[in-house]
């Protein structure tokens, strides 16, 4: 068990394993997202109250889930990086931050656009959207700090501390925004909380969520492998790899 854990920290091991998992993840993502999209766009019945605009949910919910999961994953990586000093975790964080920010932006964008036919305006200070906006700010802070510190080791550790401070704040932020929202909008229409969605509606959603998670994992693996190639360029295994690839 312990050997496995420390082997996990070897960049070369991750490069190989991730490379083998990639095709599976990528094709699964393509298949699941394709099925989910067709199912959700064509076959799911229109919503009684919202009509066809509710189909945006099939993108909004997966991206929102991912935006939050990515930050949590970065927080776990931050703990491992600070406690066990595992370099691989630093690389994963560098790879994950812009990806998480992109998903947060997509969640915000789709949430806002969904709001227009539902509430009549392009932006609404809904509790969920506002909390997602603050999450985007947290991502921006992480990315900015990463780029501001030149030394890679110090940059990784400072970023890890920032991520952990942020993760402690996320529940506080959520609670505060919910409270603030009830103070100002007593009867707010919940965007994604539909108490009893028929299975024709939430099954495609499940497929989409799975597809998006596979996609996220695939892209994260790709980006992490790139970071490994970049940082480990002086090691023997990378040099051999480069020569093998270039001689093909």
């Amino acid at each position: 068990m312990k050997v496995w854990f420390y082997r996990l920290g070897s960049p070369k091991w991750f490069y190989d394993i991730a490379g083998r998992c990639l095709p599976w993840l990528a094709w699964s993502a393509l298949l699941l997202i394709a099925i989910g999209t067709v199912w959700g766009l064509v076959f799911a019945p229109a919503d009684y109250q919202q009509g066809n605009s509710f189909r945006i949910m099939y993108i909004h919910v997966p991206t929102a889930f991912l935006a939050q999961s990515c930050y949590l994953m970065m927080a776990v990586a931050a703990v491992i990086s600070l406690v066990w000093k595992m370099k691989l975790c630093d690389l994963v964080i560098v790879a994950a931050a812009p990806l998480g920010a992109a998903f947060t932006f997509l969640a915000l964008f789709t949430g806002a656009v969904w709001g227009k036919p539902t509430w009549g305006t392009w932006w609404v200070w809904d509790a969920r959207l506002t909390a997602m906006l603050i999450l985007l700010f947290l991502y921006f802070g992480v990315i900015a700090l990463q780029h501001a510190i030149q030394d890679k080791v110090a940059s990784a550790r400072a970023t890890a501390v920032l991520i952990l401070v942020g993760v402690v704040n996320i529940p506080i932020i959520k609670y505060s925004v919910e409270w603030w929202n009830t103070l100002h909008q007593p009867a707010s229409f919940k965007l994604t909380e539909k108490p009893a969605m028929p299975s024709e509606m939430w099954l495609p959603l499940l497929v989409m969520v799975l597809g998006f998670y596979c996609f996220f994992a695939a892209v994260l693996f790709m980006r992490t492998r790139n970071e490994i190639l970049d940082r480990e360029r002086r090691t023997k295994w990378v040099r051999e790899l480069v020569q093998k690839v270039s001689s093909r």
């Binding site: 510190i149 400072a158 401070v165 402690v168 506080i172 409270w179 603030w180």
Partner: protein, 230 residues
Amino acid sequence: MSMPQSISSVFMAILRRDMLLAFRRRQDLANPLVFFVIAVSLFPLGVSPEKSFLAEAGAGIVWVAALLATLLSLDGLFRSDFEDGSLEQLVLSPSPLYAIVLAKILVHWLVTGLPLILLSPILGLMMYLSSDQIVLLGLTLLLGTPVLSLVGAIGAALTVGLRVGGVLISLLVLPLYIPVLIFGAGTVNAAASGLSVAGYLALLGAFFMLALVLAPLAAAAALRISMTNS
């Protein structure tokens, strides 16, 4: 400093030293406060001087301005010590960094937050707040500004030694300030609507306790990282 020092003596020593240093540069102390007053005054000028608007928005305006004024002063929290090398000595010393950081944060609050609280009644009057609201505003600031100093110290510690310092601190720290802002200003607004505020004040107190315990730890860790970097 070869004798290990007790936490309280280290705390008091840093407290005294930083207060002395702060008062030697009295002009710098005034800047955030002047900014505070000017920032609040911008809203009647930019939006509307009507009582209806200002009375409703006043608590929020004062809170936002307090937030921004605190942010302005954060860069200096560790910078002068960093520049003359004493920060490195403090980080390397056997004394607990938690106590040192806490003392510095206390000085920062005494020099920035406390004057903001004392100025707030005047600004509250300018915003047509009722006397009850002004008292409540002062109370929320009393509970909230220490949190601003505590959490802000984390941002200052992460960026000390970087050239870009100031703006980056704001970017890092503002999302973390948002809950304090929501509850600080929200408490006064809730009172205006007739709701009971005891719960909200208790929550602000909880924020304060949480920050008091955790923030110096994070700031100390961040200082160590920044010192190994530069």
